[in-house]
């Protein structure tokens, strides 16, 4: 059951951009460990203090809009967040998250009904999201198999390595 995640929700609004996820002043760093402590600093100073390993970010439309900086999903992973659920994701952020192995799920209903602090369970294979606090469950489209494979292997680098080795 390695593909089931469990954590508390942190809820934010629409258009959370990559500049608030990780401001450019920290983007000289490349590792999740260095970036994590500054994640969402300009939006919610309390976030990094309260977040625990495995917690989940829930947000509105167009999450991750703006810059192509890969430091953004790296910072989220570095903060210990296990996955992001949003109504929709900006294009580059979507690709970047998959590439570095951060699971993301699109579900309008889930994003609407989940509140900060709710206990969630997410099954990455089926895309099912369960709100354990409120006792409701939602579905999101699971990733195509190739993309699941990338996430399972921990990102694009391992995926390509594997592909080059098997050639």
């Amino acid at each position: 059951m390695a593909n089931t995640l469990r954590g508390r929700a942190f809820k934010y609004g629409d258009n959370v951009d990559t500049d608030v996820i990780i401001p450019a002043r920290y983007c000289t760093a490349y590792t999740p460990q260095e970036l994590g402590p500054h994640c969402l600093e300009d939006l919610d100073r309390e976030f990094v203090k309260r977040v625990k390993e495995g917690d989940i970010i829930v947000a509105g439309k167009n999450f991750g809009c703006g810059s192509s900086r890969e430091n953004a999903p790296l910072a989220i992973r570095g903060a210990g967040v296990s996955c992001v659920i949003a109504k929709s994701f900006a294009r580059i952020f979507y690709r970047n998250s998959i590439n570095i192995g951060l699971p993301i799920l699109e579900s309008e209903e889930a994003a609407d009904s989940i509140d900060s602090g709710d206990e969630l369970r997410v099954d990455l294979d089926t895309g099912a999201i369960e709100n354990l606090t409120k006792g409701r469950s939602f579905s999101s489209a699971p990733f195509p198999e190739a993309i699941q494979e990338i996430i399972r292997l921990g990102g694009m680098v391992n995926f390509v390595k594997e592909r080059l080795n098997n050639r």
């Binding site: 258009n15 951009d17 500049d19 608030v20 401001p23 450019a24 002043r25 983007c27 000289t28 760093a29 490349y30 600093e41 300009d42 939006l43 439309k61 167009n62 809009c65 703006g66 810059s67 192509s68 900086r69 890969e70 430091n71 929709s88 900006a90 294009r91 580059i92 690709r95 970047n96 590439n99 570095i100 990102g155 694009m156 680098v157 390509v160 390595k161 080059l164």
Partner: protein, 533 residues
Amino acid sequence: MKIPHKKELIELQKRYRTDKRIGEALGGVPAYLVAYWRRKKKIGRYNYPKYSEEQIKELWERLGDDAKAGRELGIRSHAFRRWRKRYKLKEKPVQLKLEQLKLELDINFNLLRKSMRYTIAQNLLASRAGKKKVEVGEIVEVEPDLAMSHDNAGLVIKQFRQIGVEKVWNNKKIVIPLDHRAPAESEKTAIAHKSIREFVREQEIRNFYDIREGVCHQVVVEKAHLLPGQLAVGTDSHTTSYGCIGAVSTGIGATEMAVVWATGRIWLLVPETIKITIDGKLPKGVYAKDVILNLAKRLTVEGANYKAIEFYGSTVKEMSISERFTLSNLSMEMGAKFAVVPFDETAQTYLVGRTNKNYEPVFAGEEAEYVQEVELRVERMVPQVACPDNVDNVKNVAEVTRVRIDQVVLGSCTNGRLDDLEIAAKILKGRKVHLDVRMLVIPASRSIYLQAMEKGFLRDFIEAGCVVLNPGCGPCLGAHQGILAPGERCLATTNRNFKGRMGSPEAEVYLGSPATAAASAIRGRITDPREFL
């Protein structure tokens, strides 16, 4: 330690040039020892030419002028002449006549409209994937014509090393200009820049531009690294800008770029396309920036997410490449994947003297299917300002004229070109920047910087009290050169006004045209530029 063979030493010299660098590459061998080995093996000092014959020939054939060609290399005209003589290039090149080209093109236009039912994105991705046609929603694996990275090449290199491939797939297709933190603002950046310079030398990437050259997107277009009908990916969201010359281009992340460097392949989803038609003559004081901000307001910041945009209409037809650049550039702020102004005579004229390569523009068919069609008339438009914290929070300038400002930024890939500087210089000439305002001027490239100097714009700026910075991204992304303190406000010609974008999260950024920027700098509050025109 083992002394390298003569052959090895020559190879090392080719790559690292000086004894000191060779020594470093060998793990800290002092330079005098390398020099001693060299003398023993009868190898001279490094004397490979700085500029190759190929490079000098290409510049000469393209530009046919010592001064212009010299400028591209950053050397004086007589120095270029010496290089040219060294390679025995004496004859003046035969410049292609514009009219001749036009004739050829008219025929091509009709030939290229084969796939009637498809958009530019579909036609281009189909041709790259070696297919007759592709449908929206299909995933294709393609080889890009250009892979651009800037300072974040540092992260790309790190990921590339992890993949474990030794050589990049094609060192001619990779372009790296350093612009985001140029010159380096911290030790960390300096280390990243150094690692990029070393990698570039190791992989023999010719199209590397150190901090002197300017904003990456401007450099790519200006130096024609990408041509109409070609496909580019870049590790910067504003890579969509190359649509201004009829190319198709989009931003990707660093890991994805590392994969492109290693394998030359990338998967892309064939996007839906929005057709935007802009008609009418632009009124006084209204520019491409105002038009695209107005569009952002209509479509919202996610209105074009995952989608391509094609621009049509009489207004676009009349626009210069620089103005089209602004359209394609800011389309990204609506989430666009591609943003293309179809190739035409304006793009063709722009490329004369910049490239001597053949290119094949791609067009949309007459029956192409669009997911959305937007029509906009501009005759009665007024100057627009995007207010904090989103690019679609756009208001007419009259609604925000009470906002006092502390800083004005003129520049960036969005609005740092010669025409932008000219508009602002004309307003500022003979006037003074308000005492409470810091105005920063950042030409988008070295060539623009030089031209602005020759035309006297820089003098106008400096006399008015502006600070002229080196070509690059400046404070746009909040890395350096003009960071805002809490409570401060800035009117910028850049592309983003997100919270904390230009420094403190308690500062505010407003976006407007170069004319609005200049007028606001004079008054100390956001000002309608028509008061000065």
